[in-house]
């Protein structure tokens, strides 16, 4: 199969790559661009471990083709911190021990960032439903919800 040439923006940088027409954006990120922070837990859009933001919209990158990123803006976990300054969500996840094994963490952080961008002051229920597309098997979600609540407070104060 002939490759597709794609020109896109990833975490603010212009990026060009060749990919196969049937190749997912997740595979492009991980295998072609070395951005392995997005994880594959299922490959069917059920676990959210590969969550990215595509033009201000939260998506599972395993359900997006690499070719579809043409001309669009992609945000991944690798772009969340500014230099060595962590995003408040990253900091609060650490402080609240909102991760155990950590495999779901990049997806949760991206989903939580998207949630707070659209709803800066969510209730517990809104957080729980907002993050219901991301699976975590270690924490029981308690500390994740608390970390997001705390981050929302910190971001309002900032």
């Amino acid at each position: 199969m002939a490759g597709v040439a794609v020109s896109t923006t990833i975490n603010g940088d212009n990026v060009e790559y060749l990919c196969q027409p049937d190749e997912t954006l997740l595979d492009v990120l991980r295998d072609r661009l070395g951005l392995t922070g997005s994880k594959e837990g299922c490959g069917t859009g059920d676990c959210g471990a590969c969550s990215i933001i595509l033009d201000d919209r939260l998506v599972c990158s395993c359900l997006v083709l690499g070719a579809e990123a043409e001309g669009r803006r992609v945000e991944t976990i690798e772009g969340m911190a500014h230099g060595d300054t962590l995003h408040p969500l990253q900091q609060k996840f650490l402080e609240h021990a909102a991760l155990q094994c950590g495999i779901c963490t990049p997806g949760f952080l991206i989903a939580a960032k998207d949630l707070l961008a659209k709803n800066p002051d969510p209730t517990e229920e809104e957080i729980r439903f907002g993050l219901a597309g991301n699976l975590c098997r270690c924490t029981g979600y308690d500390k994740i919800v608390r970390a997001v609540q705390d981050a929302a407070s910190a971001m309002k104060g900032a």
Binding site: K39, D46, A81, F93, A97, I103, T139, D142, K143
Partner: protein, 754 residues
């Protein structure tokens, strides 16, 4: 080396605090490298062909077309993994599970594998492999498999543990029995007897990270394996044995692990990846799909359990009995045996007997899942205990307190208990504010207890002190949920230095001595014991070096709060030497300073928990909602309390999923119908409430800080606690897990009489 592991009362400076974990920043920035995040130059993609049949003889496999496909570099079958197990039955089973030899024994059983230049070519190659199957009758249900008429999985298996030697083969591999006293006499003394049968369905550990590895075998016989595992040293042994390699020539590096819960304690894909790499002469990356994870790895047993418990009017249990049947998949296991040992472990019983049957079925090989086998046994026993309390007219907590095991009680599995926490967790539950929250319509409260042994085992740890006084701690147990933080705390505590001065890493198999599997909640218990021992050995050297620097006898040098102090008035003007100062001079006082420890961590403290939960049941649909959930558990000593809470909450959440929703569903054809997270639905954020935790600390007498394991016990009570809550809410006793809406609705309809 004389290391005294006994507990002594002490105050702590670092242990019990809640610092940020050392691997934290890498995990929130996406830098941490898990199984699938590693690549090697020239690496091929490995894929496995799996049986679509539950039970079939493999007549012939023709790989010639696949081998001719451009881009295919190796195709292997069982012929490429010859039997080198030399009569070791357990290893033979592992080998046969990695690659089916004569028969495919379950839907998803590996029959061949390919390595190709890319994933698309590998997938195409799988389609070109021709397997000639003779499909055989199959059986997936544990009770059905026990019948004489059931299809036999292995005609060489005769039930072990029967008084009379069986004359015909069976799917029951073993009968085991535990207990003491005389149950007939005990039931004779009972005023009330409850007798019930229960079933639980098969669940999966459900780790979010699929199994993944990169294998690279060189023509000189050395090899590297990068893999997500709970025990890289055990993987090395198993892979080396199955491939006929020397263990020391195979270096295994454990990646960050994206969840295991017992499911990453067994090799599946790793020997296959090594065999592919050996044949292709190039590195091979093999990552399971989620479908493969469900069909071919992990699951726990499905069970069928009968329980009978009798008690006097005053609430004293006089006799208890259980028969437990656990599915093992197609290979012998000891799952019912563990269930039989744990079933009544919470109680003080004069007369108790449990019998376990290990049953072969055409499902994937059963693997450990967090306190393996205990949750199902606890579900049956704790349901019957609740029902018995109700019949007697006693409060369920009071009834359990009255019969709880205590120090000096003979456990139902044999030995006499030392200091244990079942009584204190019950008292704490009784007094917990949760118990006083009023319930509304269609709501029910349930509680239940749970037990797990906890393990120790072989452990090796190195503690190296740098010239700048910082400390590198190399451990061989895998960090499954924050143990690098807790072990750094332990090293800081013992050395009397700051947590930030210690950096813990998980060492590969070539850098450290052998360590057992990170299972049985042993990570922090065992490795902290070895870390304490290593630190004490390092302190001995630090004192010797300080003695040299001061030119005084070492016996006059003591270690206190990270410094050496010269003891006695004659040294009044000698300022204490810090660890940094001693380390800085180490090049002149004898070279690098380190402490090592190799030990068998015995004496893991048994652990108990009591859980309380409130459930609302919709009587029209059978749907449930978890309103409140509280975990009370004995930790011995919580080294990093936040991560202990995390273990409690995580175990409870897994138990909630198991109790209410998760199950393997097989079609009539023996194929798994729901091998994906959409249809095998684990709890999501909106399914759960906050999970309240209370940590009790009843020190383990066999650990210097009193540590017990904490990881597993929390999954033991939820099945029963939720079943009791649902039964109270719905007004009908639930006996089949999971209590999915259709099952609850059917029970309600039946109770209404129609």
């Amino acid at each position: 080396m004389n290391f005294d592991p006994r507990y002594s009362t002490r105050s702590f400076a670092s242990v019990g605090t809640r610092p940020i974990r050392p691997d934290g920043v890498d995990k929130v920035t996406g830098r941490a490298r898990y199984g699938a995040d590693f690549n090697m130059a020239g690496q091929l993609v490995g894929r496995v062909l799996r049986s679509p049949h539950a039970h079939a003889t493999i007549r012939k496999i023709d790989t010639s077309k696949a081998e001719k496909l451009a881009g295919v570099k190796a195709v292997i079958t069982a012929a490429d993994l010859p039997d080198l197990t030399d009569g070791d039955a357990a290893m033979y089973d592992i080998l046969d599970n990695c690659m089916a030899r004569k028969k495919a024994l379950y839907d998803g059983h590996a029959v061949a594998a390919v390595a190709a230049v890319d994933a698309r070519t590998a997938r195409q190659a799988l389609k070109l492999i021709e397997v000639d199957y003779e499909v055989l009758p199959h059986v997936v249900d544990v009770d059905e498999a026990m019948k004489h008429t059931a299809p036999l999985l292995n005609d060489a298996i005769f039930t072990e543990g029967l008084e009379e030697k069986p004359t015909r083969p069976s799917n029951i591999t073993k009968r085991t029995q535990f207990g003491h006293g005389d149950i007939h006499e005990g039931f004779g003394q009972a005023d009330f007897v409850v007798e019930r049968s229960f079933k639980t369905e098969q669940t999966h550990q459900g780790y979010i990270e699929p199994h993944a590895c990169v294998a690279s075998v060189s023509s000189d016989g050395t090899a590297d394996l990068w893999v997500c595992t709970q025990g890289h040293f055990v993987y090395r042994q198993h892979c080396a044995q199955l491939l006929g390699m020397e263990a020391s020539k195979l270096r295994v590096t454990s990646s960050e692990i994206g969840g295991g819960f017992g499911g990453k304690t067994h090799v599946w894909a790793e020997p296959v990846a090594l065999a592919l790499s050996r044949k292709a002469g190039r590195p091979v990356k093999l990552v399971m799909t989620r479908d493969e994870v469900f069909r071919a790895s992990g699951p726990t047993s499905a069970t069928s359990i009968d329980v009978r418990i009798g008690a006097r009017k005053d609430g004293t249990i006089t006799a208890a009995e259980a028969t437990l049947r656990y599915s093992c998949g197609p290979y012998a296991g000891m799952w019912a045996e563990i269930g039989a040992m744990t079933a009544f472990a919470c109680y003080r019983l004069e007369n108790v007997r449990t019998v376990g049957y290990e049953v072969l079925v055409n499902r994937p090989k059963t693997a450990a899942y967090r306190a393996p086998s205990a949750p199902m046994a606890a579900f049956a026993v704790e349901s019957a205990v609740d029902e018995l309390a109700k019949e007697i007219g006693m409060d369920p907590v009071e009834f359990r307190i009255r019969n709880a095991a205590q120090e000096g009680t003979r456990s139902s599995y044999g030995p006499v208990y030392g200091p244990i926490g079942i009584g204190p967790t019950l008292e704490a539950a009784k007094n917990h504010p949760h118990m006083k929250v009023p319930l509304g319509k269609n709501q029910g409260r349930g509680m239940a207890c749970g037990f797990w042994f906890n393990f120790g085992g072989q452990t090796c740890t190195d503690l190296n002190i740098g010239m700048d006084g910082s400390v590198s701690l190399a451990v061989g147990t895998v960090d499954v949920g924050g143990s690098r933080a807790s072990l750094s705390l332990v090293a800081a505590e013992e050395l009397g230095i700051a947590y930030e001065q210690v950096k813990a890493v998980v060492a590969d198999t070539s850098s450290l001595g052998y360590n057992d599997m990170t299972d049985g909640s042993r990570g922090t218990f065992s490795s902290s014991m070895a870390t304490i021992s290593a630190a004490r050995n390092a302190i001995k050297i630090l004192r010797e070096r300080a003695a040299q620097m001061w030119d005084i006898p070492v016996d006059d040098v003591v270690w206190e709060k990270g410094h050496t102090i010269a003891k006695g008035e004659k040294y009044g003007n000698l300022a204490a030497l810090s660890l940094r100062e001693i380390a800085a001079a180490s090049g002149k006082t004898g070279g690098p300073i380190a402490g090592h420890s190799e030990l068998v961590a015995d004496g893991a403290g048994v652990s108990f928990a009591t859980h309380i939960c409130d459930i609302e049941v919709d009587p029209e649909t059978g749907a449930t909602r978890v309103l409140r959930y509280t975990v009370v558990q004995d930790a011995g000593k919580a080294v990093h309390p936040t991560y202990v809470e995390g273990q409690y909450q995580g175990g409870a959440a897994q138990g909630i999923g198991w109790a209410l929703n998760e199950e393997y569903i097989y079609g009539k054809d023996g194929r798994l119908q729901n091998p994906g997270f959409l249809d095998y639905r684990i709890p999501v954020c909106s399914d759960l409430p906050m999970i309240d935790t209370q940590i009790l600390e009843i020190p383990n007498p066999n650990h210097p800080y009193g540590v017990r394991g904490v990881g597993e016990t929390s999954i033991v009570p939820p099945l029963a606690a939720i079943a009791n809550a649902v039964s109270n809410a719905a007004g009908v006793r639930m006996t089949h897990i999971p209590m999915s809406p259709p099952r609850i609705l059917a029970a309600i309809v039946a109770e209404r009489g129609g």
